[in-house]
């Protein structure tokens, strides 16, 4: 089970309309991305910050550029 509060710096979202299950992200960051069945992508939306390098590799390797990553600081706090 993953919680956002464990690792506040890294957040991932995949545009699953674009995703076509090429699985390149799974090889780049196997702890964060996995293909289930023929083409269902399951991913960890809050991977630990120390995996940033692997996640960025996944972002680069995606043939359809479906992976968005926030690696920087959050916007100012809510009022």
């Amino acid at each position: 089970m993953k919680s956002a509060t464990d690792h506040p710096a890294l957040r991932v979202v995949v545009d699953l309309n674009r995703c076509q299950g090429y699985a390149q992200c799974c090889y780049a960051a196997p702890d964060a991305f996995a293909i289930r069945g023929h083409e269902i992508l399951f991913y960890d939306p809050t991977p630990p910050a120390e995996r940033r390098c692997a996640i960025e590799r996944a972002v680069q390797a995606c043939p359809v550029r479906a992976i968005s990553l926030q690696a920087g600081p959050d916007d100012g706090d809510a009022l």
Binding site: K2, S3, N17, C19, E39, I40, A78
Partner: protein, 438 residues
Amino acid sequence: MTTEPAGLVVIGASLAGLRGAEALRQGGYDGPLTLVGAEAHRPYDRPPLSKHVLAGELRPDATRLPERTRLSARWHLGNAVVSLDRSARRLSLADGTALAYRKLLIATGAEARPWPAETGGGLAGIHTLRGRDDAASLRADLLAGPRRVLIVGGGLIGCEAASCLRDLGLPVTLVDSNSAPLARALGTWVGGVIAACLRESGAVFRPGTQVLRFEGDAAGRVARARLADGSIVEADLVIAALGATRATGWLRGAGLMADPGGLTCDAACRVLDMDGAPCPDIYAAGDVARWPSRLYGDRLVSVEHWGNAVEQAAHAARNMLAGPDDQRSYVHLPAYWSSQFGINIKAVGLTEGADAVAVVQGTRASRRFLAVYGRGGRSIAAVSFDQARWLPAYAEAIAAGAGFPPILDATDQPRIESAAPGFPSPRVAARSTEAVHG
């Protein structure tokens, strides 16, 4: 009350609101930017809620969305907008704050249809599944080990939930008034594949009937459902997956074309006033927006999908920053995905009004196929079951207004035979697509 200068205000802090705000910044806007959200949470992603969050693989708070641009925004969260005064260019928030605006982007989304109170809606253990808090409370109830979960409604959310709960080993009954699940989104002919999956998973599928009312135990917790066919289903946990209505209640009195079916816009995403004139400083995007779709004969549609939230918000933001003579039309082919019973379902287009459907790749029996929907000899929509890589070709054909069936002489193509898609008669109240999410 307010000391903030009037800038651009985004109402709704979910996917469309976030992406709209990002697009405003990426488009070069560097003035004051404010996001207002009814929920207390920063923007989060909904699709995992009915899948991995329900399954316990992700915690509800893990779904918070990445902010892809430095927003430098003022955030008002857990503080809904309660009214809009267009003449004063002012918003009132639930806590009494008044907010001035120069331009507005309305992205308040939609709300789950609750089970009516008069037929048991107030009982404990009856859930809807739309927001992060819904998912958290449902998940907590699941952990208590319900004897049987009753899911009302076999749309995408209902089916995804059924799939998850079966994976968890929980007894599930799914009731749907149509003869197959996903009937409103995909028709009963395609939905029949999921009906078989449902049954194979060990769920009890009760098609063609409805829940009349829920009855509770002495503690006020749901205990059973009475169905229209006279039968009773004993269930101590209920998921009411009845679709959604657009979050437009706060616009009463604002003089805009708004109702539970959506907030009407022109093709440039500008909202229309009661006279049908576009407001030059108020835009809408995402689930809440109802707009004339060029690809579907300028029919007013509202599309409750992830991809529309992203694209329309970016488009509206672009127009917000452009001059009055440079307002571009939003042209969008709706698309969504769902995963259930180990199958990746992806769809493009709007199936409404389809009079024919045909498998054009693979076979229904193998559960790997691509089916196209036709209306009056034109291809209007397509769905793939574990065949996503072919979908873009069909999406292009649909966007180009190709005939039905659109692509002949393809590899792995069976003899194309049209079937009746089996759509239920349209709901009159909401002129919108049924499928919630993805």
